[in-house]
Assembly symmetry: C2
Homo-oligomer: 150 residues x 2
DNA sequence: CTTGATGCAAATGGTTTGCATGTTT
DNA sequence: AAACATGCAAACCATTTGCATCAAG
């Protein structure tokens, strides 16, 4: 089949176009940060790790720029910040909302579809009049692998 | 009815007894921190707020001691640390596990019984082999009051 | 008296900011 | 050329730590 040569590049371009059409500028730092996030296996990266990867390819990008870029992209609605715990702030693309099952043992994270909380959302509405719009909720526990291991 | 004079004092004593029986020392700082937490309306306090209240009654207690005390009590299993967001770390008593509905509008928190997540827990087990033990999960949304206001 | 907790002050470290310079449009 | 992003270095600020002193058991 022809015409799907670089899926990552395509995704990146789509994001950059979104910025452009909002009148925002495309810079090396913004491109690099998005690129690394797209390339990351599960697309979740702690700031430190992200900065390391960005700087591996673009040593001129200063850490403060990474922070500013992250803020900018979050503000622009392209990224989302998830708090996996104290000092475990991580960013990923703001695609559909989803949740996280985080293993206490290995620290790994399983992505869960947004629907896993649908029941709870309904419950909160009828019971408390609370209109929940949970994004990136983190649920702790032990993953299958760590479970058998112990 | 006689004999229930100071419920708070009684609760405090129970906690202190727990420490004592573990061979831990009872100090002014520990007593003061627990006292403030017991006195707080919803028993959730950010560190800064907690420290302010503790020092209002015991000016000699240094901020670093508050930190050390919080760590100690958490280690001892008497307190739990909840992360309501970036820079919104708060502590409360480790009674039964429960969860939090946090309003984006007013920042207030509703306490939810642990059971609201039972369905999810079951789901994660059967679906992913993930043994969830969620403590103090935070679900964002809009509370009833803020809902009508807008 | 012994062990461990505290006050204080100094260090730490992640994040933010001011400003001059370089880029994007 | 104008507006904005970046590099750099310095400022910030919550949290931590070393050490001499004090208090609990």
């Amino acid at each position: 089949m022809a015409g799907h040569a670089h899926p990552r590049a395509t995704e990146l371009d789509a994001l950059l176009d979104r910025l452009r059409s909002n009148g925002e500028r495309i810079t090396t730092a913004r491109r690099a940060v998005l690129q690394e996030l797209l390339d990351a296996p599960d697309q979740h990266l702690a700031i430190e790790e992200l900065a390391t990867r960005v700087q591996a390819r673009n040593p001129e990008i200063h850490l403060s720029t990474v922070y500013r870029t992250l803020d900018f992209l979050t503000e622009a609605g392209i990224l989302v910040n998830v708090h996996l715990g104290p000092d475990r702030s991580s960013y990923h693309l703001a695609t559909e909302s989803h949740h996280h099952a985080m293993c206490d043992g290995c620290g790994r994270t399983i992505e869960l579809p947004a629907e896993v909380l649908d029941g709870v959302v309904r419950h909160l509405d009828t019971e408390f009049g609370f209109e929940a719009h949970p994004h990136h909720v983190v649920i702790e526990g032990t993953c299958a692998a760590c479970r058998t291991r112990s």
